[in-house]
């Protein structure tokens, strides 16, 4: 039986997409207020001020060897439960355009993209959409561990 699931699909750089679960979306923020963090890695260079909190802001493009967004206009605030202590936490993802909901069948499962060795560290799994392999992000892994920037 081919079970279908909803997913939030977003573009993080031109023509490249990733997905998260609908329950992981907190808010789409336009013109996010970002505070650069000295010496932070390229893919998580800033804190995002959201609802009086400072939450980590992550861009996926540097993880696959691509440039950061030149003009960050959209941030998707996401929520997850930290694996270490079960605490609810928030983070923000840089988007290059608005996200959309898609319905994905189990039969769309496919291997992770081969363009970065980071994907196995930050993705649960992957599905095929048109001609692209779309990773489903593991938010705990993305925000709660230090990643090596290798493309």
């Amino acid at each position: 039986m081919n079970v279908r699931h909803d997913a939030i699909l977003f573009e993080f750089t031109s023509g490249r997409h990733a997905a998260i679960g609908p329950h992981e979306v907190a808010e789409l923020v336009m013109s996010p207020k970002l505070v650069p963090v000295p010496m932070a890695p390229n893919h998580c260079h800033s804190l995002c001020i959201w609802q009086d909190r400072a939450i980590p802001f992550v861009e996926l493009a540097p993880l696959i060897g691509q440039r950061s967004l030149e003009n960050i206009q959209l941030a998707l605030v996401v929520t997850y439960f930290a694996r270490s202590n079960g605490e609810q936490r928030w983070g923000a993802l840089g988007l290059s355009t608005y996200f959309r909901m898609v319905s994905v069948g189990d039969d769309a499962a496919c291997p992770l993209p081969q363009d970065s060795s980071a994907w196995p560290s930050i993705a649960h799994s992957c599905f095929r959409l048109v001609d692209e392999n779309v990773p489903i992000l593991n938010l705990d892994a993305l925000f709660e561990q230090r990643l090596a920037l290798v493309s």
Partner: protein
């Protein structure tokens, strides 16, 4: 993370707000620029009473190759091994009592970085800076680059 028990100074330069334990501050000097033959500021200056290197740092904590003559102050800091100065636009006591220090998120916390925590100060974020690690960072050639702060 626990609230800060010691007093902190809020040091601002290049748009960056740094929190430094007041115990690590030796003195605060007005900028006195010694100039070389080309009338350009040298990267290292001598402060008469506290002979030490002085550096200007960028908002990313990179070391500029010249002292930023636009800065008004030199903050002389005591690290384990030596004293050194950094230039600053402004220096003040932290304007809040019992500031709550928040650890940097794990994804941006690098072992070699002097920044491990931050404090929200009104509309701003100030980063807590460990002076010993900052001195180690300044001393690494990798942190020096060709820019004018």
């Amino acid at each position: 993370m626990n609230s800060a028990s010691a007093g902190y100074a809020l040091i601002c330069f290049d748009g960056l707000n740094l929190l430094i334990d007041q115990h690590a501050i030796v003195s605060l000097e007005n900028m006195v620029m010694a100039r070389d033959e080309d009338d350009e500021a040298k990267a290292s200056e001598i402060i008469e009473e506290n002979a030490c290197e002085v550096h200007s740092l960028t908002a990313h904590l990179a070391v500029a190759n010249k002292v930023d003559a636009r800065c008004r102050y030199i903050v002389v800091l005591q690290a384990d091994e030596c004293r050194f100065g950094i230039t600053a636009d402004s220096v003040q006591s932290l304007p809040i009592q019992d500031p709550q220090l928040h650890s940097l998120p794990a994804c941006m916390n690098l072992s070699e970085s002097p920044i491990k925590a931050y404090v929200q100060v009104e509309e701003r974020i100030a980063f807590c800076c460990d002076v010993d690690t900052l001195w180690s960072h300044i001393n690494t050639s990798e942190s020096r680059h060709e820019c004018t702060a």
